[in-house]
Every structure is written in C-alpha cells, then in structure tokens.
C-alpha cells in the first residue's frame, strides 16, 4: 500500500475534484450512499492512487445499479471500505474479489449483500482472505428467492462471526446445514436458530457440540418445530447433568432423534429426573451402556434409561451390567423383545433379575470375609478371588496358600442370596479351619509322639528314622504318595469340619445343609471300582458320618473298618497327627483294593473275610496288608487314567497342605529378611542357606562360601514374589548373577547409598486387594529451594488492609478460645472457688492463698496445625479474575482449552477470549497467598504450625517439600521458601498425608489439625493400575485420612476443584472437606475454616 500523504495534510486537489464529481453523481441516486462515500473518501484517498480511487468509486456505482434496492448495499460498501483497507493482508488487488462476492449476492438479495459488506471486514481480519469464499458460499446456501431468506442470510453474516470461535470454519458447515434444513420449513425458525446459536453452543464441549448439531439435523429432518424446544433442554442439562454423563446421553438421543424428534425431546426431558434418582458414581457407566444399546434399538434404549431407577431398586449397580448384557442378546435377535426386556416386562428379564439377585459376588463381601477369617484365626489371612476363575465349577475350588484364602468370584448355586452367602461363609471357615486347627503345623516329630506304635510296621520304621519333618516328607514314605496325600486330606477335612461343627454350633447349622447338598449328588457306590468305592465311603463318613446306601457284605466289612479309623479324627482333641495316623492306617486296605470293575468277587470277598474275621491284633493285619500292598501284591489297575481321582467337595475346596506348609516356611524366612533389612542388618548366611534349602536341588553357582561371608552379607529386599512363585527360583536367579552386581543392585534398591537425602517408605492402600501394598511409596524430603522474601512482602503489602482485619478477628476470638487457668496470683478475673477458699482459710486463721485469680492462658490453646500444600502441575493454571476459574485436575495431562482446529489456522489467527493484560494469578499463587495470610493469623494467636508441599512423579518419587517445620520460627528463610514454591508434577496424596501424620504424631497438642489445600483429585501416572480411574487414588487417600483420625489427628481438605463434591464426601467424610467455588476466595475461606476448626 502506498501512502499519498500524511494523515494531517490536506488532500491533493485532483482527489478533491474527483470526490466532488462522484458525490454529485451519487447524491442523485442515494443520499445515504453519498454520505458514506464522502465519509470514507478521505481515508481511501490517502491509500489509493487516483486511478485506484476512481475504480473504487465506480465499483460502488456498479453495486448500486444492480437492482432497485442495491443502493443500500453500495452504502455499506463505502462504509466498510476504509476498514477493509486497514487490514494488513488486504491489498487493493483484493478489492475485486471482495466486491465480486458482494455483486453476486446483490444480484439475488441486496439486503444479504449489504450485510455481507458490513461484516466481511471482521471476517477477513479474524480469519483470512482466502477463506472468504467459503464463508460466502455457506451464506449463499441459505439464500433462495423467498424474501425471508434475505433476512436469514443477513443474520448468517452477522451471527457467524460470533459463532466462528465456537465452531471453527470447518464446523460451521454442519451448523449452516442445520439452519438450511430448518429454513426449508420455516425461515423464522432457521433465523432464530442462527441468532441463538452462540448462547446455546458456547457452553458445550467440542464433542458435545458435534453431537448436538447432529441431533439438531436429525430433528430438523423430522419435525422442525422441535428445535426451539430442544435447546432450552440442553441448558437444563448443563446445570443438572454431569459432563461425562451428557456424552452417552446425547449419543442415545441422536439415535432416537433419527427416528422420532418427539421421542428424542421426551427422552431429553425425562433424563435429568431419571439421573437424579441414580447415584452419581454409577451414572456414567450405566448411561454408556444405554448408548451401546441405542445403536441397536433406540426404543429399547429409551426404555432402558427410563427404567434405570426401577432396575436399581431391584439390583445393586454392579449387577446391572450382566442383566443389561443378557438384554443385548435379546435385542439383537428381536428389537421388540428387547424393548419389553428393558421395560422389565418380559419373563426373560425378570428371570435374569432374580438370578442376579441371588448371586453373591465375592467383591461385595470380600472385606467382610477378610474380617471373618481374621476373627476366627487371629491371623492376617486375606480373601481374594481365585486366580483361575471360571464360575463355580470343579475347576474353581476354594483354596489357601498360607497368606490368602482364594474363593470363587461369585456363587449362585442356591436359590436365594442368604444361602449363597452362607456357602461362602462355610467355605471360608473351612479354609480358615486349617489354620485354626493347625493343619500346616504338621510335623513328623509330633506324629511320632502321637502314636508311632499305631503306624503299620513297614511305615513305622521310615517314620522313626525320618530326617524330614514335613507333610511332603511324610507322603514320600508311601509307595504311592498321591494316594497317601488323598487319604490324609480326606481325614484332615473330616477333622477340621468336625471341630468346626463342635466348636461353633451356629456354623454347624449352616454347614449341615451345605454338606447334605454337596453329598446329594455323589455317584452310587455300586457304580465304582472297589478302591474308588472305598474312597467314596471315606468321604461319606468324614462328612455325614455314615454311608446311607445299602452295602453288600464285603463292603460292609470295609466300611466298618474305615469308619472305626475315622473316629480317631472325630474327637475334640484330635490333632493333625491323628489325621496322618488314620490315613496311614487305612492306606494298606485301600491300596490293596483293585481299581477295576467286573473283577471276580471272590478276591474282594476273600480280602473282606481276612479283615472281618481276623481275631488277632488288627495292627498285625495292617502290617501284613501294608507289606503285601507295598510289595506290589495288588491286583493291577486295568483301567487307565488317574486311579484316585475323586471329585472333591466344592465347599471343602482344593488345598494342597504340603505346598502351603512350604509357602508358609518361605514366608517366615521372608519376614525375617524384611525385619533384618529394616534394621539395616545384612542377610546372615544361615538364613540365606535356609532359603536355598527350600529349593532342595539348588546350589550356589559361581559363589563360594567366602563370598557369602556374613560380615559382608547381602541385603535382600525385592523378593516379594516369594509366596506366589516358588521363591527360591527368584533368589537363585539373583544369586547366579555376579555377586557384586547383586550386592550393588540390592544396595541400590535400598537407597542406602544416598545418606544425604531423607527417604521414607510408606505403605499404600490398594482397595482392589483390600490390603496395603507394603512399603510401596518412596518419599523424599526436599527443600523447595531458597527464594527471597519478595513474594511474601508483596502479598503483605497488597493485603495490608485485610491483614489488619484478620488480626483483629483472630484476636477477638482469642479470649473465648483460651482455657481458663485458675489459682493464679494475678489475672484478669477472680477465681470464685479459690476466693471462697481464701475466705474460709481466713476464718480459720490460716494464711489464705493469694492465688485467687484466673486467666485465659495462651499456651492452653494447645493446637498444632500442619498445612499441606498441593503443588502439582495443575496448580499452574491461571485463575481468571471475575469468572469462576474452572481448573480441572487433569489439565496437566492435556490442555485443550482453546484447541479448535478451524479457528486456529489462518493468517495471524484470532486471539483467544480476552486475556488479562498482565499474566493472571495462578492457583499456586493464591495458595501461597492464603498461606501467608494464615501465617500472619497464626503468629498473632500463637498456635504451633508447620507447612509442607507435596508432589512427585510415580511411587518411587514422592516429593515432600519442607517449608516450615513445627519448631521452626517464621523467619525470612521460611518466607523465602514460600516464595520459592512452584508447581511441580503429580498429586499422590496418600504418602504425603502419611508423612504429615508422622510429623503431627510427634507434636503433643490436644488438637492436631492436618489441613490440605488442593486443586483436584489425587492422581499420579501409577496411582493404581488403571490410570484413567480415580478410584485407587481416592481410596488410598481416604485410607490415609482415616489413619490420621486414628492417630487423633483431625484432617481437613480444602479444594478449589469444582468437581470436588463428586468424590470428597467419600474420600474425606462428609464434614471434613470444603469446595471453594471462587479460587480467589481461598485465603478468606482458609482463615474462616481454621477459626471454626479450632473453636471448640
């Protein structure tokens, strides 16, 4: 652009002539055009050459002459020209393009063209010149030969500028489509849509906007009159429905709208009401199911959502998904059937509900059973889901491993919930019974004492000479260890159940029906081979105490013998040794019995005859039988397969006692190691050796005893898997590596090479396993760095007035809060009791005490407050001055506040919504300000306080910033540290709270407060397996807060997270938190909270 003169100097005469000329011509056509031309001409003359000027003026005439009404359009043209020329990217050459669009429009509608000229400069300025065509084309879609369409198009040019930041140029196409669809029915409705769009769409998220446009389109196609009703409903949803829930809701709505606009409206109208009856934590998940369903059948989805409150009245939320899935199958087959299903009208639906109602899920009763097992056994036994789960079947039987009792994840075997629950209870009691009645304490030594003489001879000698002392060693003494093991387990199960029944009459009541139920489906003895029949008899006797079937004479003999032996364990004083003894005594007979059918009866009868008619010492006969059996004098097993397979009973489960014994031994060793490590003692050689002995075949490769000299010993930390996989493997692996490497690794793990930093380990609560993860988090105490006192000073200066008020408020509070100290020599008031005493003393001619005053003593306030500051990355978020700030906790992970593709592209790009001239305050700044004001107040009142910040990244890296310790004075150094606080990384609250607890625990005040300032829910990239789930972090934090309460510490959480209400009630308990809507009010709120908390 060329300058033809500076703005102040008069125009060249040639221009003036031209202006006069044009003006004269114009005034005869349009007065207003003339006025605008003259107004614009000076500015134009300065930037255009005379020739260009002339051309510019002529274009105006061309416009005006297009139609009778087009002078309006020319007027706007003149008016906008100087503005458009001002735009940097706009050159004179672009004038043609600009005017070209206008001419085309004017040929159809002068009004639209006028609007175009009026608004296009802003468009060019804010987007770019190249997009102008697209913008105009969109407008032209709205223009037809109806006169009302002119108005509509004008409205488009106007409103589209407002909506551009919302939709972006790309998104506008959909928007215009909706307007076009509407105006094909009614221009008025279309126009209203355009005019109200900014209001309606601005609050929506990107995804929502897209969905809403789609819904609008679908509605417009069906019934345009629904649109004006549609948007007010959205406004209602903004207020009443959570963002995450709106998404699936609108997905459903879209599917409905595609069929019926009327139903879609009805759906949207009822949704908030329905949702208000559903607990907020369930809403998202349940709504998402509805969205899935709506893809198959919109009618079924509508029924589903509308009936949700009814379903939830019959089923707990976590049982809805299985019911839902069954319905999906129905719906896929037949949409009508699906609709009836979700309306809870079909029988299938009802049946499914009843089935689910009676189902007991382990996760619902996990903690209950945990406590139950711990109560029974006094051990830290925990319950968990069976690792290989497959419903309740023979493959998923209860078991235990020394640390856990594993149970199936759900039970629906019985017709009602209570009975299924009782099954769990009895199964738990049975597994717990192994611990209660010392199954795993079996030792060969004890067995010898119990009855060495009663063990059949061949075996007796082995037992007497045995070097091993465990169950496995015992089984190994038999020729057929697996048979011995099975017999032992049957006897032991019998003993445990017997003891449970006799010791707990309540449990007996529950156990008997379960036993009956389990035994009802056993195979008839006749159908089994003699050996299996004998085993089956043993099972019957250990459960019901008898066999109810009629027996043939031979079986009768065996039965009587076996039953006699079982009596040994049916005794209140029976021990695990008795079970082993009984097993050893029935072994010879059962081993002798053939495992095949159709054998000549004589053989069996002969054996029965020997047993039944034996008139000598039965023990001698057993010795003989054992000798024969072990010598192989049995009838060969003709049937293949595992001869001893006996279906075990579900409630008794499938526990391998010899394995448990080993695991428990390992656990003991591990605990010893842990203890040593805790005290910084290297692993003694003996212990290591014992560890290695657990894996009998293992030797220490590449390491001789000198290397393992106990003085230079090893720290072993990370052998957590010990109880799960055979631990020795892992240890072996570790030892097979170079010893130095191992040592280094171990020392490194301990973090003991870093004596300068203070490192602490904390357990973390994992709600999924209902237990702590031991020493899970590593916390480092750090300094936030040294800063200067400037920030503090500035804050004090900016707030000098408020500070005076605060001081006054706190001092005003003081007298009431302080405790009276009586019997003082001087004080504010007279202590009546002492005074009376003094009077009495005087009467008695005693020297009355002078201590007749009382005072409210400052020290008696006795408060210690610890302030814990969330300094996570999200606190970097700026807080807008007047509008409530909406920081979300995860802004540190993704920041999509202004990302709007269509909008951001193009020359220069438009600026985002108004930005404060100076960089606004961030959450952290406000937190700091709050702290500073708090410190002022605390100093004036004399309470003990400490201040810390926390952040970190990952469980190995929890950072704890020391700003002020309790005994520390509020010095310049502390003030400097406050200044130095800056946003860091994640928000792992649990360990930080635990560390704060350890600090507060040392204080000895009557009232201990832990005040946490935060801006979002607890989170860290590894805070729980599922990173998207907030639950783990919330549960851990809740636990940590609970630990605080147990230590007599009162925790209180103040958050500026507007979503706080969703989770804080569960996390902190209903009275111990506060959500601050306006971040800037944090300082006042903190002070107020502190006052109320300490005012007791």
């Amino acid at each position: 652009m060329t300058e033809h003169g500076s703005s102040g100097s008069p125009l060249d005469s040639s221009y003036q002539e031209k202006i006069a000329q044009v003006s004269e011509r114009l005034s005869s056509s349009s007065f207003r055009a003339d006025v605008e031309f003259k107004r614009a001409s000076t500015a134009m003359a300065r930037v255009l050459s005379l020739k260009e000027f002339e051309l510019w003026a002529n274009l105006g005439f061309e416009l005006g002459n297009i139609s009778g009404r087009s002078w309006d359009c020319a007027t706007e043209y003149f008016k906008s020209s100087p503005i458009v020329m001002e735009i940097e990217v706009f050159a004179f050459l672009d004038l043609h393009q600009w005017v070209g669009h206008g001419k085309e429009l004017a040929a159809i509608s002068a009004e639209a063209a006028a609007s175009y000229f009026k608004h296009s400069p802003r468009f060019i300025n804010e987007v770019d010149l190249w997009s102008l065509d697209k913008w105009v084309q969109l407008g032209r879609r709205l223009l037809d030969d109806h006169w009302k369409s002119s108005k509509l198009t004008s409205a488009y040019f106007r409103t589209s500028l407002e909506c551009l930041p919302i939709f972006g140029l790309k998104g506008m196409e959909e928007w215009v489509k909706v307007a076009a669809a509407l105006s094909s029915h009614s221009h008025d409705v279309g126009q209203r849509f355009l005019e109200d769009s900014r209001l309606w769409f601005a609050p929506l998220t990107d995804a929502e906007r897209e969905k809403v446009l789609q819904i609008s389109m679908a509605m417009a196609a069906d019934d345009y009159t629904s649109i004006p009703k549609f948007f007010p409903l959205l406004e209602l949803h903004q207020k009443k429905v959570k963002t995450e829930v709106r998404k699936p809701l609108y997905e459903i709505c879209l599917n409905i709208a595609a069929q019926s606009a009327e139903d879609a409206l009805a759906f949207l109208e009822s949704a908030p009401l329905v949702l208000s009856r559903i607990e907020s934590k369930d809403q998202i998940h349940l709504a998402a199911l509805g969205s899935k369903l709506s893809d198959i059948s919109w009618e079924a989805a509508m029924e589903y959502v509308n009936n949700l409150p009814e379903i939830l009245a019959t089923l707990p939320a976590h049982k809805v998904p299985p019911w839902f899935e069954a319905g999906m199958e129905v719906t896929t087959e037949n949409a009508h059937a699906g609709t009836a299903y979700y309306a809870m009208e079909s029988r299938r639906s009802q049946e499914e509900i009843t089935r689910l109602q009676r189902t007991v899920h382990l996760e619902d009763i996990n903690r209950l059973l945990n406590l139950y097992a711990e109560g029974l056994t006094a051990r830290k036994l925990k319950i968990k889901k069976l690792e290989k789960e497959s419903g309740l079947s023979a493959t998923a039987l209860p078991t235990t491993d020394g640390e856990y009792i594993q149970l199936p994840d759900k039970v629906a075997e019985y017709e009602d919930y209570t009975k299924n629950f009782k099954w769990y209870k009895v199964a738990t009691a049975h597994q717990a019974g192994y611990y209660e009645y010392d199954t795993f304490c079996f030792s060969i030594r004890a067995l010898k004492e119990t009855g060495l003489g009663e063990i059949p001879r061949g075996l007796r000698e082995k037992v007497a000479r045995s070097e091993r002392n465990d169950l496995e060693g015992f089984f190994q003494m038999f020729n057929e260890p697996s048979l011995a093991s099975m017999l032992f387990r049957l006897m032991e199960d019998g003993r445990v159940d017997y003891l449970l029944r006799t010791n707990y009459r309540g449990l007996k009541r529950d156990m008997l029906p379960i036993m009956e139920h389990a035994m009802a489906e056993r195979p008839p003895l006749r159908s089994l081979t003699p050996r299996r029949a004998a085993l089956e008899m043993l099972l019957h006797i250990t459960t019901l105490g008898e066999v109810r079937e009629n027996l043939d004479p031979a079986s009768e003999v065996f039965y009587n013998f076996i039953r006699g032996e079982v009596q040994r364990v049916f005794d209140a004083d029976a021990t695990v040794s008795d079970s082993a003894l009984a097993a050893a005594r029935v072994y010879p007979l059962i081993k002798k019995l053939p495992d095949m059918k159709g054998l000549r009866r004589e053989i069996i009868e002969a054996l029965a005859e020997r047993l039944g008619n034996y008139d000598g010492d039965i023990d001698e006969l057993l010795d003989m039988l054992l000798a024969e059996a072990e010598a192989g004098d049995t009838l060969e097993d003709l049937e293949g397969g595992d001869p001893y397979l006996l279906d075990v009973l579900e409630f008794r489960g499938d526990t391998k006692p010899e394995e448990v014994q080993k695991l428990m031994k390992l656990k003991e060793i591990k605990d010893n190691i842990d203890k040593l490590n805790e005290h910084g003692v290297p692993l003694p050689l003996d212990l290591l050796k014992e560890l290695l002995k657990m894996g009998a075949e293992m030797d220490i490769i590449g390491m001789d005893e000198e290397d393992l000299d106990s003085s230079s010993g090893l720290f072993i930390t990370n052998i957590d898997g010990l109880s799960e996989i055979p631990a020795y493997k892992k240890v072996k692996e570790m030892l097979e590596e170079e010893p130095e490497t191992l040592q280094q690794l171990l020392y490194g793990d301990m973090g003991i090479n870093d004596p300068l930093e203070s490192i602490y380990y904390y357990d973390e609560w994992d709600h999924l396993i209902d237990d702590y993860r031991s020493k899970w988090c590593k916390l480092k105490e750090l300094s936030p760095g040294d800063g200067d006192t400037q920030f503090v000073e500035e804050t004090l200066k900016d707030n000098s007035e408020i500070i005076n008020v605060i001081r006054r408020q706190f001092q005003l509070l003081r007298p009431e809060m302080f405790r009276k100290v009586k019997k003082l020599e001087s004080g504010e008031e007279i202590d009546i009791d002492s005074a009376i005493q003094a009077v009495i003393d005087k009467r008695c001619n005693l020297t009355p005490s002078e201590k007749v005053y009382q005072r409210r003593d400052k020290r008696e306030r006795d408060v210690s407050a610890l302030f814990l500051l969330d300094v996570s990355a999200s606190t970097d978020e700026e807080v807008e001055k007047n509008t409530p700030a909406l920081p979300t906790a995860d802004t540190s992970w993704k920041d999509d506040k202004y990302s709007n593709p269509g909008y951001a592209r193009g020359g220069g790009g438009p600026p985002p919504p108004p930005e404060p001239s100076k960089k606004g305050k961030r959450i952290i700044d406000i937190e700091k300000e709050a702290l500073i004001l708090m410190a002022e107040a605390l100093e004036s009142i004399g309470d003990e306080y400490a201040v810390f910040g926390f952040s970190g990244y990952g469980r190995d890296n929890v950072e704890f910033f020391t700003i002020k310790e309790f005994p520390e004075r509020y010095s310049d150094k502390v003030k400097g540290r406050i200044g130095a606080i800056r946003p860091q990384r994640s928000t792992r609250m649990g360990p930080a709270i635990r560390h704060a607890i350890s600090k507060l625990d040392k204080a000895d005040s009557r009232l201990k407060l832990l005040i946490l300032l935060s801006d979002g829910y607890p989170q860290d990239f590894d805070y729980g397996k599922d990173r998207t789930s907030k639950e783990y972090g919330i549960e851990d934090t809740a636990k940590a807060l609970h630990e605080a309460r147990e230590k007599n510490i009162h925790p209180f959480l103040i958050t500026v997270d507007p979503a706080g209400n969703d989770y804080l009630k569960d996390m902190c308990g209903k009275n111990d938190y506060m959500v601050i809507e306006k971040v800037s009010s944090l300082p006042q709120e903190l002070l107020r909270t502190y006052r109320t908390l300490t005012y007791r």
Binding site: R367, L368, Y372, L376, N503, R505, L846, D1004, S1005
Partner: protein, 282 residues
C-alpha cells in the same frame, strides 16, 4: 460441693469375699508388694478385672477387721479420676457450716489415716497437680502433706497406694510421666484366657457354663479384630452383660448384637463381621 465429693469416690465395707479368679501370679505379686508396702500400678484395658482384683485383694488383706477406732472400716477407697479432679478433692478441704468452718478429710487422707488401700482409677485423667500429693506417698517417705492445715501426716502402716491405667486409648500427652510411673510396681492385666473367662462369665451372669464358654470363645474371636476399627476388643464386662441378657431370656444372637456388636464399633462392615462371628458361635 459436698455432694460432688461424694460422687468422686467410693468407700464401703467389703463384707463378703469378692469373686475373683487369678489369671496369672497377680495375687502373689500383690501380696509380696503389700508386705513391703510398695505402691501398685494396674495396667490394662477397660473391663478386664482390675477393679474386681483390687476389691478381692482388699478383702483378703483385711478379711473382717474393725478399724483402729473400733468403727466399721473400709478396706478400699476408690476414686474415679476425671479432668477436674484436683489435689484438694483428694486431700480434703474446709467447708463453711453456719459461722463455723469445718475440715473434711478427702478420700486419700482418709485412707492414709485409717490404713486402707487407696485406689485411684484411671489416674491419667486427673489433673497434673494431683501427682504432687501422690509422689511422697508412693515412695519410702509415705507421707501426705496437707498444706491447708500445715500438716504432714505419716501414713498408717497398713496404707497402700494403688492406681490404674489403660494404655490402650491414651494419646501421647495423656501418658503417665516417668517420674510417677517409676514409683510403682506394675502388674499387667489383659482379658482372661477363654477357659478362665468362661468361669467368670458363668458365675457373674448366672448362665450355664456352655453358653458362658461360647461367650468367652466369641470374645476371643472378636478381640482378633482389634486392629480393624475397634479401639479395644470386647471386655469381660460386656461379655458378662451379654450373658445377663441371655439369662434374662433374650435370644443370644440379639443379645450379642446389642451388648457387643453395637457397643464396640460404629463401622458397618466390622459390625457385620462381628455379627457373622456371633452367628458362627451361636
């Protein structure tokens, strides 16, 4: 004021032998300590038998004597300590009676003079200045100074000081100071083992021994849950109450619920677990 004083301590003649079953060697220890007039500290959770024990010992030591002055004599004077208990509550004070002033001995003074056992229950609850009076009584000096009257009383040769303390729910600042603690012989109490506890329950509640045994068993199981939100396990006292309810015709499950489950915890899940233990035992 006189009224308040009466409520703070208990003084009566124990005429019959209190029922007490020794759990360990506490009786021998007490006797030996008494011989040497060593003050005693009974440590243990609430309701485990400390008070009963001291009553029993008091009776055994002074079976049915008269006091020195020939009047009925209280072997045991018990003071339940609380936050507002001051030294003069223990020692005594002057009171106005018309125009006269009368000195009234406090419970401690009474015990010191008559040679009774003075048992300060839950000593940590008392105000700190009370320790000042106790200290000279609890060491070789065995004296009580009454400042008001300018008197120093030497304790009666039979006088014995005993205090109790529950280490369970005390917070750090409510601990007994070492200077106090180190003047006493400490006997630790805990809930009696099941086979003794069942006898106690049976005797006290009048229930037959089977039900009593079940209650003792239940007590044991519930105490196993101590770390889970229970401040303390269920006390022998509560088990006795339960027995009394059952004896009164209440269904055992319900009796346990009202006397045990609901009493010892507010946490729903733990309550449920206790209920399951109850329905296991009964």
């Amino acid at each position: 004021m006189a009224k308040a004083q009466e409520q703070t301590y208990k003084e009566y003649r124990i005429r019959e032998e209190p029922f007490y079953i020794a759990v360990e060697d506490e009786v021998e220890i007490f006797n030996a300590a008494y011989e040497a007039r060593l003050p005693l500290l009974l440590k243990g959770p609430t309701g485990c038998g400390k008070t009963r024990f001291i009553e029993y010992m008091a009776y055994m030591l002074y079976p049915d004597e008269e006091g020195d002055d020939g009047e009925a004599f209280s072997q045991l004077i018990t003071v339940a300590c609380h936050e507002d208990l001051t030294a003069s509550d223990l020692v005594g004070r002057y009171l106005l009676e018309g125009e006269e002033t009368v000195w009234i001995d406090g419970p401690l003074t009474k015990a010191v003079k008559t040679g009774a056992i003075c048992y300060l229950d839950e000593i940590v609850e008392a105000r700190k200045d009370t320790t000042v009076v106790i200290h000279p009584l609890a060491d070789h000096r065995r004296i009580l100074s009454i400042e008001k009257r300018n008197q120093v009383i030497e304790a009666h040769p039979d006088f014995l000081m005993a205090i109790s303390y529950n280490p369970g729910y005390q917070s750090v600042f409510k601990d007994i100071k070492q200077s106090t603690r180190q003047r006493f012989v400490s006997i630790e109490f805990d809930y009696p083992p099941a086979d003794i506890e069942k006898e106690i329950i049976s005797h006290e509640s009048g229930m037959d021994i089977e039900v009593a045994a079940d209650l003792a068993k239940l007590g044991e199981k519930v105490r196993n849950l101590k770390e889970h939100g229970l401040e303390e396990g269920v006390s022998t006292r509560l088990l006795i109450y339960t027995g009394q309810l059952i004896a009164g015709g209440v269904n055992p499950l319900r009796a346990c619920q009202v006397a045990i489950t609901n009493t010892i915890t507010d946490e729903k899940e733990v309550q449920k677990a206790i209920d399951e233990l109850v329905s296991t035992v009964f």
